[in-house]
């Protein structure tokens, strides 16, 4: 065990810090769930890519730096420290990209990855259906083969970023006789294909962060299939696997929230201390964010050395999502009567972006497999309890 960074890692951090210091927009971008904000975030992805910072874990040939998981964690620490914009194409670069590298054909990689890297094509995920939420194997949307095409019919929902995205990916039932997770195929679909209707769904903040996607005889080339026909489930499991999860929610984000919470508490101590539970909650936020970081480093080191991830990784999502919720709840307590005010309200002094974060934190225990589903997985696969 050696808990110090190597000179190479330190140099990498310094390089990231310098570049971000020179390029992170001084003005906070608008929400990527608005049309203008989406455009701004797309432009930021292009800027990142020009600096070869778009996806540092990708190979050099694709504009990456072949970083390992530890360098990824360092990159993220600097990224969140710098207050850099959220990643509008996260469904593409973090989830689909690595899966494509593993399962995609050379033609698919050449066609899709470069434009994904530049943000020219932004991806929406298409996992859920109205009757396939927690029970994802209940997917009913079909893809019927017709010559060189699949003809897709059905509906996806809760498709994050689908309102302005260019592509979506998801599983479709290619074998109409099949049950559950068999007979599903992973297909990539351009959202401007005739027959597609995207209906925005306003989220808690009123902005259309996700959407329903309706497919009415949508023709997609068979060449858009990722992996074998009928193998969609295993491709999807790889996409949703731990390393991707680690990439999506690395600890830096929560450590920065915890740091800001400590600041908020210190600024408002005179009023915040009227609730004696607040100080402890702030303390808890700091400790839990540190615990998450320490644990992630431990796992990343093990994986970097060729170790395999076990069922204990299912604890990850519960931990960060409940931490995020708790931290924002504490911020709301500290802000007191100001907590409900939108940042532009005339008397909302010093409320920052806590309300936005609070709203978003409500979704954490729900998306990417509800925390109840995660608890079942932990009990059955990690602890070996009976089904």
């Amino acid at each position: 065990m050696d808990l110090s960074y190597t000179p190479k890692q330190d140099a990498f951090r310094a390089e990231v810090r310098q570049w971000l210091g020179e390029h992170v927009p001084a003005q906070r971008l608008q929400s990527f769930d608005t049309e203008e904000g989406f455009r701004q975030h797309r432009a930021w992805e292009a800027t990142l890519n020009e600096g070869r910072w778009g996806m540092v874990t990708w190979p050099e040939a694709l504009g990456g730096r072949s970083c390992d998981l530890l360098e990824w964690l360092i990159f993220e620490e600097e990224y969140y420290r710098a207050g850099a914009p959220l990643r509008v194409n996260q469904n593409g670069i973090f989830l689909l990209g690595p899966t494509l590298m593993e399962y995609g054909t050379e033609a698919q990689k050449a066609r899709i990855l470069p434009k994904m890297a530049t943000g020219e094509e932004v991806w929406a995920q298409g996992w859920s259906e109205p009757n396939a939420g927690s029970d994802m194997a209940a997917i009913r949307s079909t893809a019927e083969i017709d010559g060189d095409n699949y003809v897709i019919n059905g509906q996806k929902t809760w498709s994050t970023r689908a309102v302005w995205a260019d592509w979506t990916f998801g599983m479709f039932r290619t074998d109409p006789e099949s049950q559950r997770h068999r007979g599903l195929t992973f297909i990539l679909v351009p959202l401007d294909t005739p027959g597609i209707t995207v209906r925005p769904i306003p989220q808690l903040d009123g902005l259309p962060g996700f959407a329903e996607i309706f497919f009415d005889n949508v023709k997609v080339p068979v060449a858009n299939r990722l992996g074998e026909e009928g193998a969609g489930w295993s491709v999807a499991m790889a996409t949703a696997g731990f390393e991707r999860g680690l990439m999506l929610r690395s600890p830096a984000r929560f450590q920065e929230t915890a740091r800001r919470l400590v600041e908020l508490y210190k600024e408002n101590r005179a009023t915040a201390d009227s609730d004696p539970a607040v100080k402890e909650a702030v303390l808890r936020a700091y400790m839990d964010a540190e615990s998450y970081c320490l644990s992630t480093y431990q796992t990343a080191c093990r994986l970097t050395q060729g170790g395999k991830i076990g069922a204990e990784s299912s604890t990850n999502k519960i931990f960060w999502s409940e931490l995020d919720q708790a931290m924002h709840a504490t911020a709301m307590s500290i802000l007191g009567a100001r907590a409900e005010l939108l940042p532009h309200a005339p008397d909302a002094s010093g409320v920052g972006n806590w309300l936005d974060g609070w709203l978003f934190s409500q979704s954490g225990p729900i998306y990417a497999g509800t925390n109840e589903i995660q608890r079942n997985i932990i009990a059955e696969r990690m602890l070996g309890m009976p089904r």
């Binding site: 065990m1 951090r13 830096a252 915890a258 970081c293 320490l294 009990a379």
Partner: protein, 347 residues
């Protein structure tokens, strides 16, 4: 950056785990409750034969010269079996204190510890009482800003019964005319170092205790049937258990980080230890709370072994610095002017 244990460290853990699993059974623990001093000389002899008391003793004094970090996984295993013998505190608290005191004391006592010929305990004012004072051959006792090295002949012991029958606690009184072995700043430094190591020892054992309670309860809820099914198949029971697993999983890395900080003399050690103790003891307490619930009425009995581990968990949570003490230390750290918090400041 390498946050993993070495092959050797993991192998050592495996062999100690196997040894303890065979030798420190709940039946033997219960048997030790019936003895005069609550300790099992035959078991201690086996521990000595494995070389365990000398793990952290420097090689020049006949030990293995290993660090707190080398011992931390073993401490966890001692927790897993709720080992009543004072091995963990010998290795993590008494030996480092003697080593820091140096001189005649170290030269005289460290070889005896390594050879299994003597037991040494440390008593701090932070702790109300001294653990295992009754079987100690040397007692290192804090009084204010002074530290005393006392033989059994120099002290009067007053036994205090704990709810955990394996814990033997004593008030230690001695004649004020004895000369201290350290005083002032040196004593304060030694006391703080011992407190950190003692707290780390509690944290590591708590990880093991939590895991033991999970394992016992997974077995119980698989065997026990109600409504025609194993009760472990019910989500309400599963979620109780999953909550412990989450809490325990995220308590481990802080404990290992604290062990590393101590072994490497890092400035952040006190805060790291307090963080570790808070979260590890919480994991054990949550395990106790949720596993007694999963056991139903059986969990409330003397007969079922669960209470061996629950009671130890409860006790460890408030010794070597209670929760308030450790929370205050972490909060002093994070609320200090110029504290380096946030991403990139963990290591």
């Amino acid at each position: 950056m390498d946050f993993t244990f070495s092959e050797d460290q993991l192998l050592f853990q495996d062999s100690v785990r196997d040894f303890l699993a065979n030798e420190v059974t709940p039946e033997k623990i219960r048997a030790s409750w019936e003895t005069q001093d609550g300790r099992d000389p035959a078991l201690w002899q086996q521990i000595v034969e494995m070389g365990l008391p000398g793990i952290t003793v420097p090689e020049e004094f006949g030990g293995l010269g290993m660090s707190e970090l080398d011992f931390i996984l073993l401490a966890q295993e001692c927790g897993y079996v709720a080992l009543p013998e004072p091995l963990v505190h010998t290795c993590l608290v008494a030996v480092p204190m003697l080593q820091a005191l140096g001189g005649e004391l170290a030269a005289q006592w460290l070889p005896k510890i390594a050879a299994g010929e003597a037991k040494v305990v440390v008593g701090l004012e932070q702790n109300l009482l001294v653990e295992d004072a009754h079987t100690a051959d040397l007692l290192l006792i804090q009084k204010g800003t002074e530290l005393f090295a006392l033989t059994p002949q120099q002290v009067t012991l007053r036994h205090n019964e704990s709810i955990d029958p394996s814990r033997k606690l004593y008030a230690v009184e001695f004649d004020g005319s004895v000369q201290p072995v350290a005083s002032g700043e040196q004593a304060t430094y030694l006391v703080n170092a011992a407190l950190n190591r003692g707290a780390l020892a509690c944290a590591a054992q708590s990880l093991g205790l939590a895991q033991r309670m999970i394992d016992m309860t997974v077995l119980y809820t698989t065997d026990r049937h109600q409504f025609g099914k194993p009760i472990g198949s019910f989500q309400a029971v599963k979620h109780h258990m999953a909550n412990i697993a989450v809490c325990l999983e995220y308590a481990k890395a802080p404990v290992y980080r604290a062990a590393y900080a101590i072994a490497n003399g890092q400035a952040s050690a006190s805060c790291n230890v307090s963080h570790a103790k808070i979260v590890a003891c919480e994991a054990a307490k949550l395990a106790a709370k949720n596993t007694i619930q999963a056991h139903g009425a059986m969990g409330y009995t003397w007969e079922v072994d669960l209470h061996i581990f629950m009671k130890k968990s409860w006790a460890l949570a408030n010794t070597w610095g209670d929760e308030g003490f450790h929370k205050t230390r972490v909060s002093d750290y994070i609320f200090a002017e110029g504290a380096m918090l946030g991403a990139g400041n963990t290591f």
